[in-house]
Amino acid sequence: MAATDRAAARLKAAGLTAWRWIKGVTKGVGGGVIATQAATAATLPEDRAELVYHSYDGGGVKATGPALLVRKSLADRVSFSASYYVDAVSNASIDVVTTASPFKETRKTYDLGMDWLVRDSIVSLGVYTSREPDYNVDTASLDVSHEVFGGMSTVSLGFTRSSDEVLAVNEPNFKERARHWQYRAGLTQVLSPRWIASFNIEAVSDEGYLGSPYRAARVFGAAVPERMPRTRSSRAIKLRTIYDFGDGPWRTAVRVEYRHFWDNWDIKAGTVEIGASQYFGGNWLVDVGWRSHAQDKALFYSDNAQTETRFVTRNRQLSTFKSDSLIAKATWTPRSDWTNKYDLKLTGVFERKQFRFDDFTDSRTGAKYEHDANLFQILVSARF
């Protein structure tokens, strides 16, 4: 009799476990296939202004400048944004010092955006323009994001079309064009009150002049103008997640992301970024992270080609290399009546980068090329 009771109790426990599992599955997975009424609506980005001073210094290139972004909404329906970004570049990179003379130039970009809130969707339109003495870009983009399952999932689709004008400062008659098409989709999923994840995919197609009029390739030890294909097609997928630990003024979160990239130039690349964020009381938020990027070379990349081929380049961006970065970021929120009113935040970012090339040599020494770089940003942001 006791044995029968124990068997019945085990059966009941097994039944309860199965029922809890079914509830979990229908709650988690069922949400992905069955529509329901939305409990909340999508929200527009906050009205904020950001001012940044940014700097990159490494490999003989120094690029610094200010950037400003202002965002303002009207009637809680439409949010407009405008930004201005400057890169003052001083270039004495290894390509430049071994084949030409160091130079300075300034790149200025402007962009205007509009986000339109329609029930649980946000429709975003943007135009962007970038101006340099020898490279001009005009871009238009359209993105739509839509919240489903009561705001637990957000799906997004986007398209960008760019048109570039390529010039050469030393050749007034040189003028080429390149066009780019970007198609992207994404899913952001709330998994629990402490855990979110997202998946993004993007396809990019290019057509036109995809090289540099200044860059030289090396064939049988001699410098020749690079010969680049006029089309390229690439795919990238990215997975990322954030998990929040703890409560109160000492909360911590960890984040992990990975991007896999491949294209029809035979380049494959993987980029991983891992970080942790920690509040220190009510005033400080500190982030530390590590980023690692590794890629294989393009089919037609060669440091010193030993056969004649239709396409050849010595662009080290298309070579086999590895880059690691250590990232530190600190945000300070001063507390006073005035700063609280505007939610003023001051942020400093420092990133130490390392580039190690496998098949790009320094032609002055014959050694594999490597260099370090420092990225630095100071940001001020406020609500208005």
Binding site: T36, G186, H293
Partner: protein, 73 residues
């Protein structure tokens, strides 16, 4: 065993007919809105980092950032 499988099938089917409730309550959403849980906290900061990577690495895209355009050769 067959009965249990049938029960599971019926339970799953029945659950499919009911509306799915958001599994994060409204009072729990404050945590998700915290800067700690945001992919990017500053658009300009991310744009700078993305440009630095776009002009030095062959990989591009799927950053989760709307818009785009590189301006790099």
């Amino acid at each position: 065993m067959k009965r249990l499988a049938l029960l599971l099938l019926v339970a799953l089917g029945a659950a499919g007919c009911s509306p799915i409730q958001p599994w994060v309550k409204p009072y729990e959403r404050e945590r998700l809105a915290d800067p700690l849980m945001q992919w990017n906290r500053s658009a300009l900061s991310e744009r700078h980092r993305e440009h630095v990577h776009n002009v030095r690495e062959a990989a591009r895209g799927a950053t989760g950032v709307q818009g785009g355009g590189c301006g790099c050769n």
